[in-house]
Assembly symmetry: C2
Homo-oligomer: 215 residues x 2
């Protein structure tokens, strides 16, 4: 089992899926991708077949080494432990804690609030709601990054925090959030998007990217 190629269940526009695609790319792990369309047929993640695979009915899910994992950071931590190079957590415990704090702030504090399932409940207020969640999260993030950042979120090494930052900025742009007040976030995002692993994992370059959104 352990030698089979991992299978990633992914949706091109899912920011949580993108985090994992970046990790796989950075670590040079080749994988097969199975697209799960979160919109089509009322959401393919709700099919009985997918539910059997991942009871959370969400992407990403990764079949690897004979198990199926869900939750982007749990998957990324597993990849970090089983494929330690290049590392996505600094060696110093305090810096590791800062990486995790920033990642968790995005993964628990921002993204879930502007997730598809929440936005569905918001009707006409959808856009305003998403903008408020992201704005309030980015205000805190900008302040934190001013303490922790070097070239990237924490110092000059790419870390788990960066894997969360870039997809969240893409969400912000999709919801037309004014990025003017967040110069540090914007600068780091731009530097990261120049890296090959962030480019090839981009939503505009996935097998399930619709033709009109392709790079």
């Amino acid at each position: 089992m352990a030698s089979e190629k991992p299978v990633l269940y992914s949706y091109f526009r899912s920011s949580c899926s993108w985090r994992v695609r970046i990790a796989l790319a950075l670590k040079g792990i080749s994988y097969d991708l199975v697209p799960v369309n979160l919109i089509k047929d009322g959401g393919q993640q709700f099919s009985a077949e997918f539910k059997a695979l991942n009871p959370m009915q969400q992407v990403p899910a990764l079949k690897i080494d004979g198990i199926t994992l869900s939750q982007s950071l749990a998957i990324i931590n597993y990849l970090e432990e089983t494929h330690p190079n290049p590392r996505l957590l600094p060696q110093d415990p305090k810096k590791r804690a800062q990486v995790r704090m920033i990642a968790d702030h995005i993964v628990s504090g921002i993204q879930p609030l502007q997730n598809l399932s929440v936005l569905k409940q918001m009707g006409d207020k959808k856009m305003e709601w998403a903008q408020n969640c992201i704005t309030s999260g980015f205000q805190a993030l900008e302040q934190i990054l001013q303490q922790t950042a070097g070239r990237y979120c924490v110092g000059d090494e790419v870390s788990m925090a960066d894997l969360c930052l870039v997809p969240q900025v893409a969400n912000a742009e999709r919801f037309k959030v004014d990025m003017g007040p967040y110069p540090t976030i914007s600068r780091i995002n731009k530097a990261l998007l120049e890296l090959e692993a962030f480019k090839i994992s981009h939503p505009s370059r996935q097998p399930d990217t619709p033709a009109e959104l392709r790079a």
Copy 2:
């Protein structure tokens, strides 16, 4: 700095604060507690003083070893790395991944959706909204635990997943969620509540617990 006693900023009823209180208790780390009342004065977490300490304007926050950390799992991971005994992550990477998957499912997939800031927006639909979020999260969790659980969430050792489970079940009870369909969650919750670390960290036994809610 490193030898000063840690300071935990906590609210008795915050489920995220409770997670950290359990970790501190399990690892036998003594600390000073500063209560932050999330309701009083429009929310003490929004004060300029607290914002300077934690730009995320949330509890828990932990001052420790000369830094201030926020985000419950980031704090717990830091404690795990600096105070490894007793361990809160299994040694086997696959089991560690399962622990993180369950913890993240609660921390990112359930709790943020029934958080105070979201509920404020829901007006009359507050109770129904919270119940739906928890119910849908618990359905997935029950199914996952049937694969992973021993005495506790993953096997027979207390892990980070358990630190997230118990406070989330308390939230479910507060929102009057019918726990009948979740026998595995209920059984594990009961076993954990018998442990001293879960008892002394309980919301009913905190310095800021109002008299009428005290155990």
